[in-house]
């Protein structure tokens, strides 16, 4: 929601020239260790508190998800999934086991953001050099193209002001050397923040630990289809991310969106200008078909 210094903006929506490149800063990442999360929602509270937003009181839809969905005033929501998972070690009597998986949902801060690619308004979506993807509300025109472009179904348009909202990864805090509010509040240390490199290093120790405890498929969720993400998960079942409230196993910008905001753009503009120029030269070459006054 807030902009770091313009020097920190490395990519800008609907802009055909390069953004500032002179200052390089290390890529950051938030690491959410799903195996250490107890679903207390302290992170949700901290998010609402720091960003000073309150979703309206809703209704219970039969799950612990509260609110039921992400929203303009709810940038992160704990998703609770009860799933039966096949046991990795076969020496146990039961073949499957019931697991309660809790995933903190929100913007994944893709390295190749579908929202930014789709956005038609210059500078309404930016990516900072550290990788954070941010919505600059004053430039948002409310078209909803970011919703169309996002592979994770994250942006939400407010009915009140027609602006798009999502997690900013607390870019205002990160910009002054603080960790995001959710990280600060987590009582079990399930949410970590630092350079992406450090987060991978820490995650690998967690994965190792989980594997020792029988989760043979444990791993880090950092999907390459979107160039990696600046919000990563440690998953007990990294082979089946869908278990975690439909987390896509291979997210990428839809080919339709790539077509639309990729090759089609210059092609269409070129066709229009081409047709006009061709008409002009046709007239100059062939000349007009003159009107015969006499019958």
């Amino acid at each position: 929601m807030s902009s770091l210094q313009s020097l920190d903006i490395s990519r800008r929506s609907a802009t055909t020239t390069p953004s500032t490149q002179v200052r390089s800063s290390p890529e950051v990442a938030k690491l959410i260790d799903v195996s250490a999360c107890i679903g207390c929602k302290a992170c949700q509270v901290a998010c609402m508190e720091w960003n000073d937003i309150r979703p309206e009181v809703g209704t219970n839809a039969g799950t612990y998800d509260n609110p039921n969905d992400l929203g303009p005033s709810a940038w992160t929501v704990m998703r609770f999934s009860e799933v039966e998972v096949k046991k990795d070690s076969s020496n146990l009597q039961q073949e499957t086991t019931l697991e309660w998986l809790i995933r903190k949902d929100g913007c994944m801060h893709c390295e190749d953001p579908g929202c930014l690619k789709s956005c038609p308004s210059p500078g309404a979506i930016v990516q900072y050099a550290n990788g954070i993807v941010d919505f600059i509300s004053e430039n948002c025109i409310g078209c909803g193209y970011c919703v169309t472009g996002c592979p994770f179904d994250v942006p939400r348009i407010s009915q009140k002001d027609n602006k798009a909202y999502k997690c900013s990864l607390c870019s205002d805090r990160v910009g002054v050397g603080l960790e995001p509010a959710c990280v600060k509040s987590c009582p079990t240390g399930a949410i970590h923040f630092g350079t992406k490199e450090d987060m991978h290093e820490y995650a690998s120790t967690r994965v190792e630990d989980l594997k020792e405890r029988g989760f043979a498929q444990a791993g880090v969720y950092d999907p390459s289809g979107v160039g990696g993400t600046h919000v990563m998960y440690v998953l007990q079942h990294n082979d089946q991310p869908e278990l975690y409230h439909g987390l896509p196993s291979n997210p990428k910008i839809s080919p339709l969106v790539s077509l639309w905001k990729g090759i089609a753009k210059p092609l269409i503009v070129g066709a229009m200008i081409g047709a006009t120029i061709a008409s002009f030269f046709h007239y100059m070459k062939v000349g007009p078909i003159k009107e015969k006054k006499e019958v």
């Binding site: 055909t16 025109i141 078209c143």
Partner: protein
């Protein structure tokens, strides 16, 4: 009045007043919807939003201008679709399109109220407007925000594609009117000269003259 010029009473009525006013309403709405839409297609054209009061206003106005244009076009469609059905002579005409482009008008087969090129433009406009309205609804955020994202994605691609078809059809349409002299009068005054009619639409000309004879 110069005695050499044709007596205006000898001119033929090509379009009625209501048809012409509807046509010009479509023209204005086409430029409104077209320029505002192009602003969202390519960053190099985003400056068109300045014509409509900025980004949010352009986003608000675009669908209404587009919808209104399509509604006006319905009137035109009802009036003209029969005259634009493709018939045998149109195939002949299309086979000789290169002659037309070369300006060898006399080698073209005789056509009625519309030639095959005009008919194609008509159907391109009809088809593209229909697709534009249907797909536009799929991502009209203010009113229809709840379509599944896959429909929105298909919608934006088809919307951009059919908008291109429409714009190319309009460029052809405008150019033809400038190229073939005596044509624009049909839309500004509703009249064309007999010479124009005989040269460009001989079958229609004979039809109209035959009607005149029976009226006498």
């Amino acid at each position: 009045m110069n005695t050499n010029t044709l007596d205006t009473s000898k001119d033929l009525v090509r379009y009625k007043d209501l048809t012409r006013m509807n046509h010009w309403a479509i023209v204005l709405l086409f430029f409104g919807a077209g320029l505002s839409g192009l602003a969202f297609l390519h960053p190099s054209l985003f400056f068109f939003t300045n014509l409509f009061g900025g980004g949010p206003w352009t986003r608000i106005l675009h669908p209404y201008m587009g919808l209104l244009m399509a509604l006006c076009f319905v009137g035109m469609y009802v009036e003209l679709w029969r005259d634009n059905l493709l018939i045998k002579v149109d195939i002949e005409w299309l086979k000789k399109t290169h002659e037309m482009f070369a300006g060898n008008k006399d080698n073209m087969p005789e056509v009625g109220k519309y030639n095959a090129g005009q008919k194609l433009v008509f159907w391109m406009m009809t088809g593209s407007l229909l697709i534009l309205v249907i797909t536009g609804v799929l991502f009209w955020q203010a009113w229809f925000a709840d379509f599944p994202v896959i429909l929105r994605r298909i919608g934006v691609v088809l919307h951009a594609t059919s908008a291109t078809v429409l714009i190319l059809a309009v460029i052809t349409h405008i150019y033809a009117a400038i190229w073939v002299k005596g044509t624009t009068r049909a839309m500004t005054e509703g009249l064309v000269s007999r010479g124009w009619a005989k040269a460009n639409h001989p079958l229609w000309y004979r039809e109209v003259v035959a009607k005149e004879e029976t009226m006498k």
